[in-house]
Structures are given as C-alpha cells and as structure tokens.
Amino acid sequence: MSERIEAATEPLLEITDLQVAFRAGKRDIPAVRGANLTVYPGQTVAIVGESGSGKSTTAHAIIDLLPGTGHVTGGTIRFDGRDITHLKRRQREAIRGSQIGLVPQDPMSNLNPLVRVGSQIKEALEANDIAKGNAADKRVVELLEEAGLPDAQARARQFPHEYSGGMRQRALIAMGLAARPKLLIADEPTSALDVTVQQQILDHLDSLTDDLGVAVLLITHDLGLAAERADHLVVMYKGQVVESGPALEILQHPQHPYSQRLIASAPSLASQRLTAQTRAEVRESAVKTAGEIVAEHEGDEFGGEATRIAVEAKELTKVFKLPAGGLGRTIDFTAVDEVSFSLRRGTTTAIVGESGSGKSTVARMVLDLLEPTSGAVEFDGVDISTLRNKKEQLAFRRRVQPVFQNPYASLDPMYSIYRSIEEPLRTHDIGSSKEREATIRDLLDKVSLPSAVMRRFPNELSGGQRQRVAIARALALQPEVIILDEAVSALDVLVQAQILNLLNDLQAELGLSYLFITHDLAVVRQIADEVVVMQKGRAVEQASVVQVFDHPREEYTRKLLDAIPGGSIDLAS
C-alpha cells in the first residue's frame, strides 16, 4: 500500500508541451502541437485519435523512433525522473528496449521473415544485456510461454510465417516485455487482428502488465477499446490534446465538441435504442419506395417477375483448388459451404465474419464476378448463371452494383472523378454527353460532394471522399441492389459514421437493397435488418439484428458480440 502511494506521487512519464514537426523542403510541418501527458507506474493510459491526429507521432517521439524527417521542436519528455528529450543517441538506445518497450502495430511486417522467432527475441535480450547464450535461450521460452503461446519450446524454433497473426502479436509482446521495461508503448497492437483474437490478446496483455507492474501507453483509434482498457484517456485531434481525464468520465460526460462527436460516432458505443429506431424509419421508407419501383418495372426486359425478394442465395458453395506440393496436384479448399440467405427489397442483409470466413467470396459470387461451384444466386427469381446473352447480362449488371473496401484501390488513379462516374454510363450507352454531365452533377450532389470535385483525381481526395465517389459510381446505373464489401471498414470513425448515414439516407430515398459485408458486428446495428454470421465458410446463425444482438443462439455469435470493444460500457450514468 505504501508503495502505491509513493508511486502515485512520482510520475513515470511526463510529457509537457511537446512539439514535433516533420521537415518538408525548407519548412517544418507541425505534427504534434503542445501535447501534455502523464503516466504513473503500473497505470494504463490511452491516446485516442483518428489517423493524422498525431497519436503515433507522440508515442514515437518518446522512444526516439520518429520516421524520416520528424524531430522534436519543443517541450520536454521526462522519464523516470530524468529529462530524456535531448539525450545523445547512445543514451536513448540504452533506455529503448530496456526501460521502454514497444509493441508495434502490424504483426505481419514487424518480424524478420528470415529469422526464427526465438532468435529474434534472443536478440532483444542480448541487446539489452539481460541474458546471453544458453540462459537467453531459456529465457526466450519462458517469455513466449508468458505471452500465452502453447508449446513454446517448439514455437521458438519456428519462423514467423508459421505463426498466425495473433501468435505473431504475442511474440512481439514477448519481445516488448523481454527486458522487463517500466513502460510499454502499444501502438494499435491489435488493429490488424480479428475481434475475437484482439480480445484474447488484450486480456492477456492486461493481466501480464498487471502482474509485472508495467505501465502501458496504449495508442488506438478505437474509443471503446481505449475506455475498456485504460484508466486515463487522452483525446488527440490534429496534433493537439483536446481533452484528457479519467476514461469513464470522458465517455459519460465529454466536454470538448470533438470528443462528443467521437463518442456519438463510435459504432460500439452508439445507443442501441436510438439506432434501432432510426433504422426502422429508414427501412419503412425504403421498402415503400422499392415497392413503387417494382410496380413500375413490372414485366421489364429482365424476364423474371419482380418480387419482394431481390436476391436469394441458394446453397452457395465455392471450392478453390489450392496447389499441394507435387506438380499439378491440388487440394480442395471449401471457402463457402452451402450458404443460403435472402435479401428483401428495401432492406439490408449483413454478412458478418472474421477473416477467412468466406464472406467476400459470397459477395463476389452474388456480383457474378466468380462462378459458384454449386448452388445459385437468384435475382428476382432468375438464376444469374443462366444469363447467357450479352443483353441479359448487361441488364443484370445495371441492377446490382458494388462498393469495395479499399478507398485507395477502388478508383482508377488515372481517371478523373468525372470519368470514373461516367464510365458506367458510357459502357451502357446512356444519354448524350451533356445529359451524362447533368447526371454526374446530380450523383455528386446525392453523395454530398461539391460538383467541383469532378475535375479532380482520386489522389487528391481523402478516404471518405473517395468512398463517396465509389458510391456515386455505383448509383450511376440506378441499381436496385448494392453490394457493400467492407465499404466502411477502412475509414476513421467519424467518416465511417458519415458514410453509414449517407447509405441510410440513400436507401430511404431510392429504395435500395444492401448486402453489407463486414467483419465489424458493431456497425451492423446502424445499417442492417437481417444478419448472417459466417464462420469458416458456413452460415452459423441467421436472424434479425435485434435477435442476434439480444438473444444470440450460437456460441460463436456470443463470442463475437462479447469481443466488441467497449460494448459493455454503460454510458448513461
């Protein structure tokens, strides 16, 4: 007890008025402007912010790992009672690793693929003079065991590619804690991992740092995760600290408008009752509009009767042939295994699953970009694999359009925004060039972009703006169904919320039906009506959103729900 009080009086890390800038040509571009931050021994403090907020830069300044032209231009960093802001390189290196550990963001690129994992951890031990030779080998196994890797002795001799993403992150945690540092900086330690793995790793990190009494500085974009794991929160925005204080207090009573906005947008924290209500309104309006459109198009060229069900997947199966050792030999890999679901007009069906669950393969089959091995996709009751002539196929293309995940890859960088949106119109020979221009202006207006962006190129737009353009392009042919393949997953929380709102508005206005593919169960509540939970190629649970969230039947669904960071935090009190 007395130790605690003593510890409480002496901060471990104290950052005052930190200024960091990046040199571009002859100018300094500020990245961090006057950040203050205090961490006490054994405490977990989280820095929360969007990309570009300066959260990682702040962390990297502490351990002198600023990339390229970055440098500290002002303020002080005190660690363990001494000013480390302007230490010589050697002195800093002595602190790095031995007193401050780092768990980097991307487990895939932070291990040397050519060196056994054990040897890499051994290197960390030897560099910090913790242990040498045989003693170090023994310590490596202990550390890996401690990090929660079963059969550590054998694992230490394996190469990184033999590890899964979660195991690699465990190895990196073992490395970060190898020298028993007093502070561990965890820079988005689980962002690249599936939610269930993320939860396991964070739980483990929590208990480990508790046992060892290590303080943790957690860098994250996820407010829910930060609030769940940290005692103290620091919210950063455009290089400045806008709000800091006890985690729960900030969550329940955010005072800076930016924090308020962030909390309102976080899908895991958004009030359930409220979203359910707005969602119901959207659906009602969308179903009504969709009904009118169907009535209008009765007996169109597409053949099949317009029905209330827009898309129906019947026992969809996709088997990939993977090369297996010998020449020409293959093994079958069933990516999608007899998945059936239906998408009613004017509603959203979400397909939720972790990486490798086969959800994107389903999307590609529904889009007719990939042929199913067996089973069928029916559009308005017509099996799309029976569309053989060009005219029928084009008619199908017009009615089903995709929006993909990566805003940086889904627009041709050589095409101006105008040409990108015009492409579907040109391909289908719709309108004169003057009419097309009017259509494009109208589409940009629908996705809330100024028509001035027409003449710009994708590299000039932000991720959210590109995603709006991709939505405008998908809308150009006036489709009835839009396949959203992780369409909001790569976006910052605020932008994500905006795009989800936009999608809801468009659905209500145009009577669209969405097939919403996502790994993030949290956003599902804001946009979907029906949920299909996929695991290893199979649909393990299908039900309405309310049912899945309130009464999940399957163990796996429950696990996914529990893993939503911050999902259990009570915001009301």
Binding site: A8, T9, P11, N36, T38, Y40, D231, H232, K238, Q240, V241, V242, E243, S244, G245, P246, E249, Q255, H256, P257, Y258, R261, R364, L367, L369, Q393, R397, R398, V400, P402, F404, Q405, N406, A409, S410, D412, P413, M414, S416, E423, P424, T427, H428, L449, P450, V453, R455, R456, F457, N459, E460, L461, S462, G464, A470, R473, L477, L494, V495, Q498
Partner: protein, 324 residues
C-alpha cells in the same frame, strides 16, 4: 480508480478557440486539379538532372536531324595527305587515318547511333508491352507460352546473341546500305531485348489487375479486353516508360559495341562505333588519340544523357524507387 486525480492527470478540456473543429470530409477546391501525369511532370520540372539531360538530348536530336547546320564538310571526303593531322583551324577535331574530317564524322555519325537506340527502344517497348500485358492479364496458358519463350531469349546474352545473328544475317543479306544496315541492327537487338520489357510489363499488369477498380469495372459490365485497354495498361505504363528510357542508352552502347567488332553497321555507314573501330590502331600506338577521343566522347555524352533522363523519369514516375 482514484477519486482524486493525480497531479498531471486532472480533467482537462482544451479551449475550443485553440482547437477549432473542422468539418469532416471537406474538399479543398482552391488548388487546380492534378492527375498522376501532371504531378509527375511537376516533379520532373523541379529536377535539375532532368533539365541538364533534356538540353543535351535536344541538342543531340538537332544534330541528328540537321547535321548540315553544324558542318558542310563531307564526312566521306578523304584527304590522305592530311592523315592523322591534329586539330587545327577549320578542322577542330583533326583528321583520322583515312584523312576524313573527325568533326564532320562525329556530327554525321550521331544519326545512326541515336536512330538505332530510339527505334530499338520503340520496337522493344511495343512488343514487350503487348506480350507482357497479355501474359499478365490472361494468365494460364497465355502466360505459360509467352513467359517460356521470353525465358529462352532472356537466357542468351544480348551482345553474344546479336553477334551470332548478325553474322548469320551477313551471309544472306550483304550490302545492306545505310537504312538496311540500321534496320538489321535494330531488329537483331530487339529480338534479344524484348523479354526484359515483357517481364517488367507482366509484373506491372499483375499488380494492377487484382485492384478493386478492375473488379468495379467488371461489375459495370465492361469486357475483359476493354478493361485491359482502359484500366490495366494505362496503370501499368509507368515502370515500362522508366525501363524504356534507361534502356535507350543501353541499346546505343550495344550498337557501338557491335560496330566496333565489325559486324554492326556496315563500314559504309558513318557511325561512332565504326569510327572507334577504325581508331583501334591509334590506341595501340598511343599516338594521335584525338582520332579515338572525339567519337568516343560523343558516344559517352549521348548515353549519359539518356541514362540521366531515365533516372529523372524514374524519380518522377516511381518515387518509391528513388535512391535516398
């Protein structure tokens, strides 16, 4: 957690005046729009290496097109009486063993060397881009076929292959004249040069073809062929252009090498390679080095200019490959 905040961790809210909120997702419409090419040009423009090489190449190009502007001495007018005379007034580079005016031969020799370089590059780029794009985009047996054929040619060293092929050609097509000689060298160099470009183009196409905008175009209903033409090739062009500019210099050197060995351009063609070959004896004697120095210098400057241009173009089109 502690009810009383510890020093340094009190509740803090930044005054809004100091941390103004910006609207999420606004577009800056003040600056003029910039596509990838325009940006590359901006980058190129600010690179002094580009300007040095561009000025030199412009000058070399004018020399090739209008040699008459620089000299009115006939490069084939031999005056044996003045053999190996050094630089003098009216004849700044002196005379060679045959009594030809070296300055006039350097000026007139530019055309053959540069023509071979440019034509070979055009040829190789066209064939390489086409085969590489087909192999990368269609994959499967098309890739198998094209890649294996390319491997066969790739395994033969450029100069060795060209020597064999050219001496074989000399047996069936002798006395080719100026353009015949140039075209023979171009064809032979292209035969052994295209696989490199095929590999570059294939790699670039493979990288582009799995991007999401290609899927988006397919979902619109564009055919495979129009996808290749409109999206894949334009996006795979940058590395091909970079390789092309760099290899221009390589082909000029290759031509000079072949001519020096006596099997490149016919001796009747005025070219730097032929003149360097003719100056061989002077190297051995160690006297009258001006006969060797001027054609060799012109060759070096030309090749250097093309290489520098290639470097500058690469920095502009492929900033990732930039040497830091």
């Amino acid at each position: 957690m502690p009810e009383i905040a510890r020093p340094g961790q009190e509740r803090f809210v930044a005054p809004l005046a100091e941390t103004p909120l910006e609207e999420t997702g606004t577009v800056d419409t003040s600056a003029p729009p910039e596509g990838q090419w325009k940006e590359a040009w901006k980058q190129l423009r600010s690179n002094w290496i580009f300007w040095v090489s561009a000025v030199l190449l412009l000058f070399i190009l004018i020399v090739c097109l209008f040699p008459g502007l620089f000299t009115d001495i006939n490069p084939r007018a031999a005056d044996l009486g003045r053999s190996k005379e050094g630089p003098q007034s009216g004849h700044p580079f002196g005379f060679d063993a045959q009594g030809y005016d070296v300055y006039s031969r350097v000026i007139h020799g530019a055309r053959a060397s540069v023509t071979v370089g440019i034509l070979t590059t055009l040829f190789v780029t066209f064939v390489g881009l086409l085969t590489g794009a087909l192999a990368g985009f269609y994959g499967k047996w098309a890739d198998m076929l094209i890649s294996r054929i390319a491997d066969v040619f790739f395994a033969i060293p450029l100069i060795l292959g060209a020597i064999v092929l050219l001496s074989a050609l000399n047996n069936v097509w002798s006395g080719r004249g100026y353009w015949g000689g140039v075209i023979a060298v171009v064809l032979v160099l292209a035969v052994f040069g295209w696989p490199q470009m095929t590999r570059i183009a294939r790699g670039a196409v493979l990288e582009v073809k799995n991007l999401e905008f290609i899927d988006a175009a397919r979902a619109i209903g564009s055919s495979k062929w129009s996808n290749l033409r409109r999206h894949v090739i334009p996006n795979a062009l940058a590395p091909v252009i970079v390789t092309a500019t760099v290899s221009l210099g390589v082909y000029i050197v290759a031509e000079a090498t072949l001519s020096f060995l006596g099997i490149g351009l016919p001796t009747s063609v005025v070219s730097w390679g032929n003149d360097i070959a003719a100056a061989q004896s002077e190297v051995r004697s160690g006297r009258n080095l001006h006969v060797l120095f001027f054609p060799a210098g012109a060759l070096a400057i030309t090749v250097l200019s093309f290489m520098l241009l290639g470097d500058a173009v690469r920095d502009a089109l492929d900033p990732k490959a930039k040497k830091s």
